[in-house]
Symmetry: D2
Subunit: 485 residues, 4 copies
């Protein structure tokens, strides 16, 4: 069902808490609000006065903890949790986090959101020294580095390890007596700190979790920071000064929940402003605005408000699609049977529709939705995208690691417009997007990482350098062939 | 979790097909688009050249057919299917439809959406004659009546039975050689007829299923009609002329999917017009419009467009709530931990909010959402409801059979406003609602049943007469007490 | 896996209790000891001071009640329960017993072990009168007859119904204020009465349940009896005097547990005596005795004791076979891969083996085991069967309703010996078996039904008469063809 | 349910194969026949021309591979598999074997039956050097040792590692191009080599697997051997000459399947001889012999044959006990409700019974069975045990690691007799047992490890030395107190 699955995936969400009598329960609710960041697996490690216990499993959080005992046994006043997205090949219980380590001289829980750019060479080097990696994820590299460090203090070991790994990362590390949170030097992945009414400290990939667990936002974790929370309070430290803010712009465009704030900017509001900017840059006549549910509804609101066109529910998503095992046969699909998204004839018939979407990855989804709208009687379909053309892979934690999967890596906007069968195709300009997000910072690109749009990566690429260069020469004709059929 | 579950439930959806080589598969997709009408159980009976086979189970459709074999074994070119909502007490596999009957002289599949008003007296009478009822639902009464009829022709028996049952009903009856659809004399419940590209006939509780299975809408089934579909085509017949159109208005307000059309009126469009009417009747100053997701988003669009106020995503619903077994403890809930709905501080802080909802049943949900918005910093919360005050029970298929569950049965709008803690409370007027829906008909109340609003039932109440009269005297002070706490 | 599944199945076991605070729990344990009589489904109906509640499901008892709540909710001081065996086609939840009936004027639970011989004509007659049957089993016929009876008293209705049904049956009927047990006029199926230490009355298909629940055996239910248990005690009544004892001899041979007593004769002891008789009738030289596990171990003990040959474990059954979903491919099977039964080379190598089995149905199992023993190095394999040749179908509750499935219906013992590849084949004589069982009675055939051996049925066959006569002409060459391959 | 669970458990079974097109399938059947050696988890790693894939899960084999795809995806011509028993605390998926290692320079599958005696100190030492252990089992120590070895050849590394670990072990190690099997220097755990008809080599913890997969036994793996199987054939090598045969005698007494041969001696035959010896040593008058099912049936056969007493089925085990989640409440248990084992009144009533069991661990089971027999009417109960008194813990792979769990560690046979309520208690003498097993060897104790009986361990105890010495002083009065109640 290629056309209905967004081929763009965040890699994980993390949540941690220190100082609450029902720490694992609160972590459960926090993770529940981060479920959109990873549906493949989840887990929690709780700290019960120095005793660490964990539970993790494949599936949605509700499946992972379907037996209430699994949560109840995670006693203690501190916890960390993780929801995981992963590529198909790595769907193994061993990769589900947090990892729980029980050494003769200490116990640790560890989880991670992001992607290391020097993981392959670090792993190889460590294996040559006799290290055995259990999972295929990058995460446990940090623990190997900590355990092998000769630095005399524990925090010294941790900082040494953080300076050795490269790329995008937000780590949570639970020890017997403290909770440590660390952010990469560019702040690629979001991580915020909050406080509950009872004084408990919480950290979360997104602030939407604070609303859910009744916590107040305190501040975001800054690039290069390592934060230590224990019974004496919170301590803000840094492991490097060589930092430069480059928040993943796709968090605003697509990944984050609309009710989260990143770097002080609300995601819904940013998207609505993208919709307004897009309306300003849009050059065509139209009758109604239709957002692709659910990620583009905010942008559609902004576009409608700015353009004065009515915002209509011309596409409806079936809310019961999460767990349907039975898919239409090819034959039925050709007869028009589809399950997840419907165009509403009585709304779009005879209308010139502006179809708002957040981004185009492979183009197959857009093409399918344009076709749905036409079959439902739309007179014209003008596609307007709330972000610029996706042309380059990401190596910091989003699952687009090859240009072959990106239609815009190989095709001009005009070609894409033709391929998806639209009457026109408008992308939001890079400047327009940066302005719409509107972070208060002097950093380049308004403090955002926009490398997938312009190919300018804010860091060296290490193990991916070669892969990246090779990808520049890839010329796939995949989609054009598809269209010819 | 009273405050997050709408205490208002449709009773069931039906789908039928005749003339398609993958009839059960198509029925599966049709039912999937009707899943919102019933999540407690589902089933399909397929007709394979006169051999009828069935499968039914408790749970969502995806659970009922989680083993693909269950669907594959339902061979044949015709099928009927059902999704069921039911009150807790009756959650028994025996009540899951369609029922499959295998007599020595014939086989039948039967399913039903609606509620009979003379079921109790019919059952008692039949039992006295030796009849044994298997399920506790009303549905099988029809089969007993057909089997006991002395009318010489089969269609004569069916019509006799249809004239004996009273209330709201849409029946699908599969025989070995035809598919029969029947509508009550008032057309309370929606039922539409469509045709697929290959000529197959489909019937469905809602037209959204036609979009999903690639069928074209032909027409709705009229009050008092009995329709026969077989290999020779479709035949429109009637079993009574004593009819009067009274479509359930709550279908437009809350139950039906926005992409369905009922009696030629699109549901999203009707809701948007209710929002516009509501904006005209609304008398207060405000800054932003916030719809309660998901049912009130259309009305919010209409309100925003008419009022010129910006439409904002000030409330966000977690999309992963369907299957969460672990609920916050009372203690956590008091600490502010909640799972399903969040108010977005950065959107509503300091704003005068118009909160749009479709209806108020018990008032607990509204009160909770008002509180969420206030905690998130809203300066004022003005509640605007897209329908009039719900004051009377329904006996035709909606699960509000006692006035004690309806806050407006006992309280004035002013009292309700105070109870839910809003700054103001505006209901759409009855006339406004009828006008917004705007059916083309000369029937009273614009062809709608509005009895829950005005207590004027379009039919005698039979077995419920006494219950109804008793309910008029019920004076519960349930909510006022709640508020005093 | 034809060769490892005994194509001979009992149809069901029943258990009932009156007067115990944990009636459903005790019933669970009672049924657990009757699990061998039916693994396809199970259920319990409990009586809580006149309120009847039930739970039933497909699968083993442990699956049916895998959620402890399912049992806990069955409150009350009386209960009836059922384990069901059924032919594949009827594996439907609707057939799982006990059935629970809720009429406006009374509630009933009903379950049944046996088979009616006039079910088809009774059903047809009742359907013509408007009756609707829910399940495909015979059981509900009794309830239809009771409900339609014009006899003024309830027990009068029950007796009238019992006199209308024909064949083999042991019924348990729970009403709001009593538990009724009834036996067919021949006592085909076993049913015993016991009493617990607290005075509670129990009825069970086999006395092994009494040992498990700590009850003392009181007496067996006699042919033509109807027994009423209520708070005032137990009452032995009869509904007919036209009775003649004909206990199913296969209960002793194969079905019943060795620790049960039927008509005062212990099953293990009867089997051991059959083994001794068989040894007396056996005419060959041999070195060791090997019983086919588990049903033939008692007979093997008897044979060894009588013959003086050592009893050896030359065949071992894997005890983990109940739930293996993965079966060897045909290819692996040809390579000798097998899962359930192993011959032990070090025990049988070079030995002349007497292989003891209880009966031969299709011959495929015996043939396979003979082959296993030969492959393991047995010098000779002499098959000795603890019962006579199975030649005729059973219509009273055992699943052999066609002669085509019985190798001895079509083949002489010499032919069978050749087909199964044995060096010799000895059946226990009919007289030997009757003597070994040794009931104290003057009834024909020592009070046993031996119709499958001699074709002389103790009752008219009603609806099966024609089928039986037709079967006499069936001459299948199925097995001979198999052997030629 | 203490009294029905044998507190004596084997730790695991292994199976491997090289050279069969359906290697994983054959491994599945092999493991299925070893299921009695471990029910907590299972797994298979298959080798598909150098690509290693694995699947492992908690539960019985049938649960682990309940989805046929899980087995089908394990393509390849070689495989190793494991069934695991484990103490409650370690029931974690991470401990389920085989482990699958994917290094940048090689892939390995590893599994293990046994227990290392220097695991704790090895782990600590390795962790100090930076090693991270994933599971809590001993098994992965071997891989750490191999990876850290500086020996230039791979087999050199393996042999170095095998010389470093101490205790009881049978390892299977799959590499990309060979299958390695290794046995500890005492041959504590059984491991045999066989060959299939197509030439494929198989290794298995027990020979019963060979019968199941159609393989011929070639020979057992000897103490100190390391065997390499690859496409060129099989190679027998040794890693140490410092060996002395000491096969675990409890394999013959209790663990192994009766159809397995260990060191050329069939287990059933050994048990039967133990029964005969026991009859010779038995000094009391009795009427019948009753074996405790299932482990003591062979010994009962031998006892009966030798003594001339009839062997009777006086105890019957319910064959459906594996998966019963619902257990009798304490109250019901006191009323005599029990589920797993029944005494047969009609068999034992008035009889002087010799009750044969294989061993006594805690005494609770024996006591319970004696009581069952008495309640069923046995006149006298003489307990005869097919092995000597269990007095000392085992550190080589059986789960009796503390003397506190062994009733005979603290009580004389006379006291035990009184505690279990028997009329007499006879243990087989140590010499009798050794003679009955009858291995052809000059090694001490007839080549058997009998340390649990005489406290003389065939090796140093390393990390357990201290624990063992401490246990000698433990004087628990646990059972006497129990009896006083």
């Amino acid at each position: 069902m290629v056309y209905e699955v967004k081929s763009l995936n965040e890699e994980c969400g993390v949540f941690g808490i220190w100082g609450h009598p029902q720490a694992a329960q609160v972590t459960y609710y926090g993770l529940h609000s981060l479920q959109h960041r990873g549906q493949e697996g989840a887990g929690i490690v709780a700290n019960d006065a120095g005793t660490l216990r964990g539970h993790r499993e494949k599936g949605l959080l509700s499946e992972v903890f379907k037996n209430p005992n699994d949560l109840d046994k995670l006693k203690g006043t501190a916890a960390i949790g993780h929801v995981r997205y992963a590529t198909a090949g790595a769907a193994d219980i061993r990769n589900i986090q947090p990892f729980l380590y029980k050494f003769h001289d200490g116990k640790y829980g560890l989880c991670h959101n992001g992607n290391l750019t020097n993981a392959i060479s670090l792993k190889r080097e460590l294996e040559k020294q006799g290290a055995i990696f259990n999972a295929s994820s990058d995460t446990e590299i940090l623990m190997h580095l900590i355990r092998r460090s000769h630095n005399p203090s524990f925090m010294g070991k941790v900082k040494e390890a953080l300076n050795t790994v490269k790329g995008g990362f937000a780590y949570l590390l639970m020890t017997e007596d403290k909770l440590i949170a660390a952010m990469d030097p560019n702040g690629f992945r979001p991580l915020s700190i909050g406080q509950m009414k009872n004084g408990a400290w919480v950290v979360s990939s997104e602030t939407c979790a604070f609303e859910v667990v009744g916590a107040e936002w305190i501040r975001d974790v800054n690039p290069g920071e390592v934060i230590i929370i224990d019974d004496t309070g919170i301590q803000y430290d840094t492991y490097t000064d060589d930092t430069q803010l480059a928040i993943c712009s796709m968090e605003y465009v697509y990944f984050a929940r609309p009710d989260s704030d990143i770097a002080g900017v609300n995601v819904h509001t940013a998207r609505k402003r993208m919709g307004k900017k897009l309306a300003q840059e849009f050059k065509h006549e139209a009758d109604i605005v239709v957002g692709v549910p659910n990620s583009s509804l905010s942008a559609a609101m902004g576009f409608a408000e700015e353009s004065g066109l009515p915002n209509e529910m011309g596409l409806v998503k079936n809310q019961y699609t999460q767990r349907t095992f039975i898919q239409p046969t090819q034959e039925l699909r050709e007869q028009g049977v589809r399950m997840k998204l419907s165009a509403v004839s009585s709304v779009v018939k005879g209308k010139r529709v502006v179809m708002i979407d957040d981004s185009i990855v492979r183009g197959t989804t857009s093409r399918r939705i344009v076709q749905l709208l036409r079959e439902a009687g739309a007179a014209e379909v003008h596609v307007a995208i709330g972000s610029p053309e996706l042309k380059y892979p990401c190596f910091y934690g989003i699952d687009i690691q090859t240009r072959r999967e990106l239609i815009s890596a190989n095709h001009t906007a005009e070609e894409v417009c033709e391929i998806i069968g639209a009457d026109s195709l408008t992308y939001l300009s890079l400047g327009g997007m940066i302005e719409a997000i509107g972070l208060e910072t002097d950093a380049p690109n308004g403090g955002l990482c926009v490398a997938y749009f312009d190919g300018k990566y804010p860091t060296p690429l290490y193990d991916y350098e070669e892969e990246y260069l090779r990808s520049l020469d890839e010329k796939t004709s995949f989609y054009i062939e598809k269209v010819k059929k």
